[in-house]
Amino acid sequence: MTTKSNSISDPRYSCAVGATNSVVAIRGAVPIANCSPGCQLKQTAFLTFENGFQGSVYAGAGNMPSANSTENDIVFGGIKTLDELVKSTLKIFKGDLYVVLTGCVGGLIGDDVPSLVRKYHEKGYPIVAVDTAGFKGNNLYGHEEVVDAIIDQFVGDYHGKKQKGLVNLWFETPYFNQNWRGDYQEIARILRGAGFNVNIPFGPENNGVKDWRRIPKAQFNLVLSPWVGVRNAEHLQEKYGQPFLHISEIPIGGEATSEFIRNVVKFAGIDKLQSEKFIREENRIYYYYLEHFSEFFAEYWYGMPSEFAIAADSAYTLAYTKFLADQIGLIPRKAIITDDPPQKFRAELERLFHDLTEGVDVQVEFEEDGYLIEKAIDGVKFSSGKPLILASSWELTIANKKKALFFEITPPSSESLIINRSFAGYKGALNLLEKIYSASVGGK
């Protein structure tokens, strides 16, 4: 049965309780996993290991406190186990923020986790509870839940003034979007260069809970993502009266990034002088490199791909397809979004794929089942030369079958190690070209 069913082969996301990793992305924060043994190792394996072997930090991965529920907890309730866990975590871990994430078991056996956590919260501990039962949604859903929970239960109300030029950056999902660390740095660099004061909730340039407390003061929220985070921005709008700018497409390359900057500057109404100067300087360097690259691109003798297929989450599928089709001139033959975006975002995504570049159009598909994704790619008759396939490790075998150039852009990813790599903005575009065309060249 190659038709759609509930079945999912070769999964491309994990479940809500994997949002422990969003907590790890906040400097000094400690996740407390209230779930079964195995839950966190599975989520972490997917998000931080089988995803460019990113690794984890601080209270993530092996250090993560976890209830590891037993049959006893199922039968008699797990609150006592959780209470012990919270207590010992507060005793043994240094945390500026503790987030209790409850998985399937807690939800199904009816433990009252919020009450327990409230007890500690009321004593003054910076602790927050979130329901992230795996059957409620995937890790992207869990990520959004965690953000709202921290805002509501930790950051709390704010009635002070807003600070002009201060922007909260809601961007890639930590650990899930495999280049998130480098991408946050590149987009932050760009926004700063354009004159903004950038508040970054996650990653290398996050300063911990201090930055979360700054969130309500920002002039506005920037959601740079097709859908993840829009819910949070709506919540912030309501809670703090903060407007938000939603940009679906991560800018890649000189043209898109300059346009991105101009859009954000326009929305914020800040002075253009600095941003235009920044654009000029960045373009000077970018096109210096692109002029060099264009020689290879025009003159390489031994073939390079002219068509590609892509299957990844909404954010990367859109951004890479756009850049490759519009700026580089690769022909998109198949684009599949695999992160199950909520229905209300799908029409806009479809539109964006219809408007990639002059005369190029691809009907984006939404599919999470790896079996059907493989079939869809297998069905493309690539016309000449080696095509390029950008997807996950699951597609290694179909890429071999198609004699394609292949690399991974989405979890699971086992063929590359990722540290500070970015394919976003000015610099990332050049990295992406290096990556694609390094795969094309040589006599290997």
Partner: protein
């Protein structure tokens, strides 16, 4: 037939903690644990005798209020049954339970390469359960996924893995399996491996073996393959073939990367051996009890003595005693010069092993052969006995008798927070670890680690040399870890880092009543922020 230890009529497996008395918390001298484990008495009981019953058999176990990221039986089933080449494993669960499958796919890719089999992906499907299914039940989705499995991959068998959520809502996978088997025309095998069921993941191995023993292994083989030896293994490189060639034997690896037919023929082999008694005991015992395939009752094949004895025991079954003696002698001679060189290199060096139980015993043997000191060891569980319960299968005793006592012998399941204390009280230059989550923390404490990913590396005579060569590369990384130690902030409080007892919370539960003052720093910040 005598009453069997393993009951293949049931679909469920009895947990290790009940069947073997497995514990996951203990701390003391290894020799004391040997005594407390009372292997011989348990062995008598295993084999139908009586040597006391009830509480007397329960080992004293240290509990911990703080636990950390760990593994479950469901994941073990995925990495066993999920890595067969022509059978499908269905995760009857929400999607998150399939999170590690991609990692097992990488294991399989590497395993296939090591065994010279063609590259393929794992054949796993999730029923992908949602909130509604928790309320209304999920058996229809399971039926649909079984049909999908058949249509997508045309497998030789379909396995169904139970998860926490489906166990709690009471999914009856046994009935669905039975009902669907005629429709799909291949065995449909239920596996009761929900994560919360057993306190230790190794029960998952038993569940996986149980499933194939019940429904795949040929109950009535028409022939015996006299040159075929089952090796219960994982994905390791095929070093066993070269060791067994002098005895005229071929290897039948079970289960990872095996095909349906390879599993099926397990009952045609002349015997069953393994690289790790923790892993192999259940399968070997059931094959012996219910299929008449004897298990090898010998020390594990690590270090010189272990390898000698293991080979001799197999040679006896195969009737190749002379060949074995010749091979043993020539190997001793062959490795001697290199081994001497390595012993010289490692003079004064110490190491700590952190792995599952019986495998740790094997690795420590190898360290001993290399002249590397080992005052401490961390094991994720302790099985006072294995299913076989054979005279020569008391791996801990075998280790201590051969290579001496271990003063800091700790049993603790993946509790990274105890590493500062564990590494404080014993000298070490490096760690050998086989399990995710600990090596990285040890690295932040300043120690280089060898992750023994290819578990066959230390096996046999050559394994001693292989480990020695690899450890040279590991020790060269010491500075990397020293630098890291200077720059990485561990998430543990200064109070905790100043402790020396890894089980301090267990031994002093009252400290949890004295929590650090809440949010002092936080509140100050709040005040500043609103100022």
């Amino acid at each position: 037939m005598a009453k069997t230890i393993i009951n293949l009529d049931m679909t469920e497996v009895e947990n290790r903690e009940f069947r073997l008395g497995t514990i996951i918390g203990w701390d003391g001298k290894a020799s004391d644990l040997i005594q407390q484990s009372a292997y011989d008495e348990r062995s008598v009981k295993k084999h139908g005798g009586c040597a006391g019953k009830g509480l007397g058999c329960r080992l004293c176990e240290l509990q911990s209020p703080l636990n950390q990221e760990t593994m479950c039986s469901n994941a073990i089933v995925q990495c066993q049954i999920g890595n067969l080449t022509d059978c499908v494993l269905i995760d009857h669960a929400p999607i998150g339970c399939s999170g590690e499958n991609s990692k097992f796919n990488l294991s399989m890719h590497n395993g296939l390469k090591r065994r010279g089999k063609p590259l393929q992906n794992t054949l796993n499907i999730s029923t992908n359960l949602k909130e509604k299914d928790m309320v209304f039940g999920a058996s229809d989705k399971l039926r649909r996924t079984i049909r999908d499995a058949k249509d997508r991959y045309n497998p030789k068998a379909i396995f169904i893995g139970m998860a926490c959520a489906t166990a709690i809502i009471g999914e009856d996978i046994d009935s669905v399996a039975e009902e669907m088997e005629p429709e799909v025309g291949v065995p449909v095998v239920p596996l009761h491996c929900e994560g919360f069921r057993s306190k230790h993941w190794s029960t998952g191995f038993d569940v996986a073996f149980h499933g194939v023993l019940r429904q795949i292994v040929n109950r009535h083989p028409e022939k015996k393959q006299k040159d075929l030896l089952n090796i219960v293994a994982l994905w390791g490189t095929d070093y066993f073939s070269e060791m067994l060639k002098p005895l005229g034997l071929r290897v039948n690896y079970l289960l990872d990367c095996a095909s349906f037919d390879e599993i099926r023929q397990a009952s045609e082999a002349i015997a069953t051996a393994t690289f790790c008694d923790t892993l192999g005991g259940y399968m070997a015992t059931a094959l012996e009890e219910s299929f008449g395939v004897p298990q090898i009752d010998a020390p594990q094949p690590y270090g010189i003595r272990g390898t000698d004895e293991w080979l001799r025991a197999i040679a006896k079954v195969a009737g190749k005693e002379n060949e074995a003696e010749e091979y043993i002698e020539s190997e001793h001679r062959r490795i001697a010069p290199k081994l001497a060189e390595l012993r010289n290199f490692f003079k004064g060096k110490n190491g700590i092993v952190m792995t599952g139980s019986a495998y740790a015993h094997g690795l420590i043997s190898v360290l001993s052969e290399l002249g590397i000191g080992h005052d401490a060891a961390l094991l994720f569980h302790h099985d006072p006995i294995y299913d076989g319960g054979g005279k020569h299968q008391d791996t801990l005793k075998e280790l201590i008798d051969t290579y001496g006592d271990i003063p800091h012998y700790t049993v603790s399941k993946t509790r990274a927070f105890q590493l500062p204390q564990l590494l404080k009280r014993a000298k070490t230059n490096f760690l050998i670890i086989r399990h995710p989550g600990l090596a990285s923390v040890a690295g932040h404490l300043g120690f280089p680690t060898l992750t023994m990913g290819d578990e066959h590396i230390p096996v046999g005579y050559e394994g001693i040399l292989r480990v020695g060569e690899m450890l040279k590369g590991v020790i060269a990384r010491t500075k990397f870890n020293r630098i890291l130690k200077r720059h990485v902030k561990l998430p543990y409080s200064d109070w905790w880092l100043s402790q020396s007892d890894p089980f301090y919370l267990t031994n002093h539960p009252e400290v949890l009543d004295d929590l650090p003052r809440a949010a002092g720093k936080e509140k100050q910040e709040l005040i500043q922020a609103s100022a």
